[in-house]
Amino acid sequence: MIYFDNSATTRIDKTVLATYDKVALDIWGNPSSLHQMGNRAHQLLEASRKQIADLLGVKAHEIFFTSGGTESNNTAIKGTAIAKREFGKHIITSSVEHASVANAFTSLEKLGYRVTCLPVDKNGRVNIADLRNALDSDTTLVSVMGVNNEVGAIQPIDEISDLLENYPNIHFHVDNVQALGKDIWQKVFTPRVDLLSLSAHKFHAPRGIGVLYKKEGKMLEPLHHGGGQEKGLRSGTENLPAIAAMAKAIRLLLTDETEKASHEAAIKAKIVSYLESKPGIDIFSPISEDFAPHILCFALEGIRGETLVHTLESRDIFTSTTSACASKTADEASTLVSMKVPDKIATSAIRLSFDETNTLEEADKFIAEFDQIYQHFAQINHLEGK
């Protein structure tokens, strides 16, 4: 089995799961309880928070635990929009965001907020001039992802940060669900970033847990009200087993980060170099500084992405389609469509996503299997002659 769908989710690490089990079975007090069991749970909660903060180079009180990327994104976006509504109702995002960002903006638009959706260039990157033109005195939020989940484009977070230095009151949110542990952190997390989202199951930790970084002093309206956990920003009894497991997973993820990322880049490079030699294949994730090392999106012209994914699956290789293919409704945005890739090609795209557990042998195996599939479809579609 070859699993090349790590941007969808990753397999939980055994030692991370062992931490989860141990905490769930032995340290199961409520961190808010006064007694020793609660105290022990509380200590572990705060030790987890501190470890994550230290690893990310931020302060412990800037780390908030959520149920994952979707909640972190929603809290950052709606929380800002509500908390800052007295100061303005204009919010900005890009046209290639994950659905949890895009749909949060759509929801706010229905509630009367003015939304600017920045276009992207053919590489999937927003243009800083577009952002500059969009900013006005009513703007309270800019939300741009660090690494695009469909093609792996790294957004110019550094340039956006420079621009926003002149607008200190605007909240800058970065959805970095795809970006941690890929040796590009400096590019996607600058000191100007106020809010940042992470999702644990993208790095071998359990589902249902994530991080929202909120820079100290920044206002957010909570979405979940209740017992006041997470300093009132996210009420609900803390998911301590998952939190501790995530803290461990981040430590493991960032150990030898550079080596792991270059290993993933080598797998990607090998496959890209094969694909480039084939007529009728369009690559949307070139080998470049501006693209993440672990995401490879390409299309085999004339074959729907869904068909290709299932064909690969029949050979025990697991990949995914992009939202262009998944979309049931025509108006649903997709990164490739935003990149002005023609619909016909966009719907042919599939995404491979690697992580450090993948091997170069798997890349070879993939190439061999894919080549057979390619020969078959190429013949049908007369690609070789193109």
């Binding site: 141990k22 340290i27 200590q43 030790a47 803290a247």
Partner: protein, 406 residues
């Protein structure tokens, strides 16, 4: 970054003479040795006029942080030991100056010669090394009267010792040279500051802390212990003596008029502290009282409370304003912990209207209704002694087994 090879320590309180001076130096050497014990390569050479610490590659920065908290050190200088050639002296001197020079600073060279056979005399060395620095650091200016930087060169028999800075130590007297005492530590702002000041005068202290479970929480006790851990930076290990006080408080509350609850409680505390002091060979009792700060600290209250002993009760912060105490607490690093809101035994049975001017005879009379001896005996039977090392944590300690999970 320059690599210092030695540290030269100058003693505080030079007026001490004779055997006292010997004790001073021996105690200081042992205190320095203790704070540097995890650097086995370091050699400590206590001499009559100063102490030399040979680093042998130990990191100066970390050693510096530790030395700052050792009482009895007036000033100290990091030095580099250099060959007795002009070339080596000039090279090291320049390195040392470049390490600390900032644009616009002035300097001078100050040479001392113990080896009078050395081929250059003091003036020659001053001027040659000065010229060398002048030639290599653009814009640096010489200034004889009040230079920003002084480069000290000592030519001794074995080598030349060069230093670029004079650092201020903690002053005071080496802990242990002034004898032993108990310190009544509550967990508030004042008593840790009083502890620091007692240590600064060379007093070896043991903490006496009253706790009253279930009225006070484990956290209040842990907080007092952790404060002791901060103070242990200045003292090495400190014994922490926890005295159970709930039975005494309950009994007083049950049997005595409200106005005298506080006064009689304090009399019990002082009595217990004095018994512990005697058992442990102490000579005095320290506390964190400041005149007039609260009802128990008026002169009338002190009179009514102090009545239980003739042992000196010393109050280092007695005349300090709260703001002065807080400033010192912040400096020594106890403030943030002191203001953590865990109720201690002083507040739980505090009457709404304590007498600010209690009468001594009344206090004695009321107290006589109680089984003083029995209460004291049972409290002493429940004492717990913990030895606390520098920066030991008690409040936010996940068990190491738990943090290993992360």
């Amino acid at each position: 970054m320059v690599k210092y090879t030695e540290i030269m320590i100058r003693y505080g309180e030079l007026s001490t003479k004779g055997k006292n001076r010997k004790d001073f130096i021996a105690k200081l050497a042992s205190n320095v040795n203790r704070v540097l014990s995890d650097f086995p390569m370091v050699e400590i050479h206590p001499k009559h006029d100063r102490m030399h610490i040979v680093l042998n590659d130990a990191p100066f920065e970390e050693i510096n942080n530790r030395l700052k908290k050792v009482f009895g050190i007036q000033t100290y200088s990091p030095v580099i030991k250099t060959e007795k050639t002009l070339e080596a002296i000039e090279k090291t001197s320049l390195e040392l100056m470049e390490a600390i020079y900032q644009t616009g600073m002035t300097f001078k060279v100050n040479t001392k010669r113990a080896d009078h056979k050395f081929e250059y005399d003091t003036n020659q060395l001053n001027s040659m090394v000065g010229d060398h620095i002048f030639d290599h650091i653009p814009d640096i200016k010489a200034e004889m009267k009040h230079p920003d930087l002084v480069l000290r060169i000592e030519v001794r028999q074995d080598a030349v010792y060069i230093s670029n800075q004079l650092l201020h130590g903690a002053g005071g007297m080496p802990v242990g040279t002034a004898g032993k005492a108990v310190m009544m530590l509550s967990g508030g702002i004042d008593s840790p500051v009083a502890s620091y000041l007692a240590l600064k005068r060379g007093v070896e202290i043991e903490m006496v802390h009253f706790f009253s479970p279930p009225y006070t929480t484990e956290k209040a006790l842990a907080k007092a212990k952790e404060l002791t851990g901060i103070l242990a930076n200045y003292a090495g290990k400190i014994n922490f003596i926890a005295v159970p006080f709930a039975e005494i408080q309950e009994t007083i509350k049950e049997k005595l008029p409200e106005g005298y609850l506080m006064t009689v409680q304090r009399r019990f505390m002082l009595r217990l502290a004095d018994i512990i002091r005697k058992k442990r060979g102490g000579l005095a009792i320290f506390n964190g009282e400041s005149v007039g700060q609260v009802a128990s600290q008026t002169l009338e209250s002190m009179t009514a409370i102090n009545d239980v002993t003739t042992t000196p009760v010393l109050r280092p912060v007695v005349t300090m304003d709260k703001t002065e105490i807080i400033a010192l607490a912040e400096k020594i690093g106890t403030f943030d912990l002191s203001i953590e809101p865990f109720e201690d035994c002083c507040t739980i049975f505090a009457p709404p209207r304590p007498k600010t001017k209690p009468k001594l005879d009344k206090a004695r009379e009321y107290e006589a209704r109680l089984d003083v001896e029995g209460l004291i005996e049972r409290a002493l039977a429940g004492i717990q002694i913990t030895q606390i090392r520098a920066n030991q944590k008690f409040l936010d300690v996940s068990s190491s087994e738990d943090t290993d999970l992360l």
